[in-house]
Amino acid sequence: MSSDEPRKPEDLGNQPPAAEEARLRRRPVRRQQETERHPEAARETESQRTRPWEEPEYTRPSHASEVTSEPQAEQVDAAAMLRAERAVTAMFLLSVLGTALFCFGFVFFSLHNSNYGQTLNLVIGAGLTISLFGLGAGFVMWAKKLMPHEDAVQEREPMHSLEEEELLTEELFLKGADELGIPRRKLLRRTALLALGIFPIPIVFALRDMGPLPGKKLYHSGWRKGVRLVDLDTQQPIKVGDLPVGGYATVMPEGFGSVNEFPTGPTMLIRLPPGVNQPAKGREDWAVGGHVAYNKICTHAGCPVGLYEQQTHHLLCPCHQSTFDVPRACKVIFGPAGHPLPQLPIYVDKDGYFRAQSDFHVPPGPSFFWRKSKTPAGEQEAKKA
């Protein structure tokens, strides 16, 4: 602490405790009450307690507190009070009925019936509602109609302490810090900060097994050269002629097992009418007789691009309305997606089954920071070319 600190009241700390306590006295009323109570605090057993309320001359003190309350001079209408009391009673009885309805609902209605227990749900729900409503309305009406309206006034205490108390606390804290020597012992301070600062680093190592590193996982969709296209639901391989013109199917690589293993595997095989497809440069042989295959996972936020508009040949993502133009390499023509859906190059084998020429050439799915523009398959192709 610097020596020119003007506010440091050395004298405060050296005063006798009683004086200090007097100085700290914040709520005189309460202090006084505590001292009045003090003799009682000395009693040791409960049997030594007096029971003043049993004395004949005992009168209840008017509520001793910081709160002042002036009950408003209202005309107490006895008949109205009686009506209110009856109304509150009726509410509580209503609640009893509701509780009964809840219980008996299970007796008279089954969970297992033709409408899957919907009736039971309605009955017990109504019972619970009535039961709770009766309780709630009863309590609120009791408070509003049967209690005298009062305007109790309570003083606010200032939301800060007396300055002496603030100073004393500051001094106490700073004195402790001074005793620790934090300002003085530079080396100690710095090494302590260093040790505390690097202390959390092991958490990173400890949490390392939360999951594997991404590695190349985001680049592989499960498709590879020569694998047949099978329908996702039936798992049957798809042949030329299975799809009508304008038809489409969601396909996976044959033998995929669970779709959860290949989250970017789902692919749309779409049969465009003849002459509609305008293949991009270098992709002339990726389609077979109007059949094109594009990844189904939206490049925006990963929803399946599930809506195919037959008339316009657009693929629409129902989550955020990204729209892809299928005949023009699934270019983004509307919505928030940042790049086209990757195309799967396909061919037809001698038996007429669709097969993949390779994996996708660009990484399928949404973008991420370290995303390379080509998958391993794409790089291979680029080398060949």
Binding site: L122, M147, H160, H300, A301, P304
Partner: protein, 556 residues
């Protein structure tokens, strides 16, 4: 044997006091005064919703299995018999169809979650527009902001757990959002999900976050929120006898305790009615989640709507350079935007303090009109929020009104920039107009609609003086020039040196201050005569110029 209830009560209280010396504390607690106003119960609704969430959530946790292991459904819901699905989805079906009161409790839980976040938002609006966040309540404002954020996260976690088609889509989007974070995104996503999406690890983690981690933090913050509220005492609207130094209302015991208890039951009753009569999230209709499937018109719960809208209308920006990709189209609307919005919300008390220079204590609330610029800012923020929310349903709007979804999206892209400034202007004007009408009331009294003809042939309208309550409310309007309430002892404020000349920051502050403060209606001079009928008062050539237009910034 009869028990005298009075003696029994005294004995109990003494038993406790002999061990905890609690009498003085209890007396102060019983005597605590709460001001009465309907809008002070909005926060209570949030508190009660949270309690109901804990109660119903515990029940649901008895039966829910947070696992994505695949199984074949064999419960009593026939349409899904034999369908492969995750254990999580199957156990949610079990709760809905095979557990007594399961569906009711599940629906109450979902409704309570919606109400929890909704009541926080409405409570926040009340606190904002009445200036209840001002000194000394800034800390509670920040805690409230944190509670709103956590409430939204908690709701999203719960909504995702049933693993139905809708909620699974939400998690998929969540994974993509994590992926979009520069530098660490894909690593964060893989660590959190235990590998590539969907993974086996994520559901147990989501479950423990939903039932332990988040509710634990929320409960702790609610505790702190209430303890601070308790300690600082509630704010109150202006009224007769109300000052910065007192609270007027009813005491905790017995009136307020009774009312509060009743209000809890009524809140519960409303939620029970919703759970009984209004179906919510019928997951058996959506079907189990399959990552290759999606449904039309997919919408999240309402509190995620503004993020969904931001994702939908954000342009398709994506940068690729130096071998890295930054998906602005996901990162900005779903990470940066909410981060910015909640940060601005959290620091608002200090922003306002900065541009008003008002460092004083405020226990008496503003009426919204008392601070027109704040009303404008609030309207601006709310209109932005509501537009994003509506944009989250652009497909539903397009389908309902047979519009092009592209046109609707373009409308929202423009509207989020154009509408908020307009909302600011109108909010501020309306507040100023209300101030103006208050002045009229004070000067002329209430109009009765009765026209009287004087013997001289002159017509006047009869007016009646306004009530003492209304007068006290209007006359109390705080002026920024008014010295801060006496705080007991001098405290270090920037005072006269608040706005030193020169320096860019000081200039900016001065300009903002002018913008924020100047356009207020001047308070009426005290003791102004009001003759009740407005005759010759502000009318005619000898009218009082003071009763006319609000004071304006001369530069305008």
């Amino acid at each position: 044997m009869s028990v005298n209830p009075e003696i029994a009560t005294r004995k109990t209280l003494r038993y406790v006091d002999d061990r905890l010396a609690s009498a003085s504390f209890l007396r102060r607690t019983f005597n605590k005064v709460f001001p009465d106003h309907w809008s002070f119960m909005l926060g209570e609704i949030a508190l009660y919703s949270f309690i109901i969430l804990i109660l119903t959530g515990t029940f649901l946790a008895f039966f829910f299995h947070a696992s994505t292991s695949e199984l074949v459904y064999n419960g009593s819901y026939v349409p899904l018999k034999g369908v492969e699905m995750s254990e999580a989805y199957a156990s949610t079906l079990h709760i809905s169809f095979d557990v007594r009161a399961g569906l009711l409790i599940r629906q109450i839980h979902h409704w309570a979650a919606l109400l929890f976040v909704a009541s926080i938002v409405v409570h926040l609006c009340r606190v904002f527009f009445t200036g209840a966040f001002r000194k000394p309540r800034e800390i509670n404002w920040v805690i409230g902001t944190a509670l709103l954020t956590l409430g939204i996260l908690e709701g999203f976690a719960g909504y995702s757990l049933p693993d139905d088609l809708l909620s699974g889509t939400g998690i998929r989007i969540g994974f993509s959002v994590l992926e979009s974070i520069p530098l660490v995104g894909e690593y964060a996503a893989f660590l959190l999900f235990g590998g590539n999406y969907p993974g086996q690890e994520f559901f147990p983690r989501l479950f423990i976050a939903h039932v332990f981690l988040l509710p634990g933090i929320i409960a702790g913050l609610i505790g702190a929120h209430l303890m601070i509220l308790w300690h600082q005492k509630h704010t109150d609207f202006p009224g007769p006898g109300k000052t910065e130094h007192n609270v007027i209302g009813s005491r905790l015991w017995p009136t307020y305790a009774l009312k509060g208890q009743g209000f809890f039951f009524l809140t519960f009753a409303v939620l029970a009615a919703l759970g009984a009569f209004f179906q919510i999230n019928p997951i058996w209709l959506w079907g189990p989640y399959k990552l290759s499937n999606v449904s039309m018109l997919a919408q999240p719960d309402w509190y995620m709507g503004f993020l969904e809208g931001a994702l939908r209308i954000f342009p398709n920006l994506e940068s690729q350079f130096l071998g890295v990709t930054i998906p602005w189209n996901v990162f900005l609307p779903s990470i940066v935007l909410p981060g910015l919005l909640f940060t601005l919300l959290g620091v608002y008390p200090w922003l306002e303090k900065w541009w008003t220079g008002d460092k004083g204590y405020h226990h008496v609330l503003d009426r919204p009109r008392d601070n027109p610029t704040r009303v404008g800012i609030g309207c601006m923020a709310l209109s932005f929020y509501v537009l994003l929310f509506a944009a989250g349903g652009n497909d539903a709007i397009a389908a309902t009104f047979s519009l092009s979804v592209n046109a609707v999206t373009w409308f929202f892209r423009g509207a989020v920039f154009i509408v908020p400034p307009i909302a600011f202007y109108f909010g501020k004007r309306i507040a100023l107009g209300l101030q103006h009408s208050d002045r009229e009331l004070l000067a002329h009294g209430k109009e009765t609609g009765i026209i009287r003809r004087l013997p001289s042939g002159e017509y006047i309208e009869i007016t009646t003086p306004i009530s003492d309550h209304a007068r006290a409310v209007i006359e109390r309007r705080p002026m920024i020039e008014e010295p801060a309430p006496d705080t007991g002892h001098p405290r270090p404020t920037r005072g006269s040196q608040a706005y030193p000349r020169g320096g860019m920051v000081a200039t900016a502050q001065r300009r903002l201050s002018d913008f924020f403060v100047e356009r207020r209606t001047r308070a009426l001079p005290p003791g102004r005569p009001t003759d009740g009928n407005g005759h010759g008062n502000g009318h005619g050539p000898n009218g009082d110029p003071d009763a006319g237009e609000p004071l304006r910034n001369p530069s305008e």
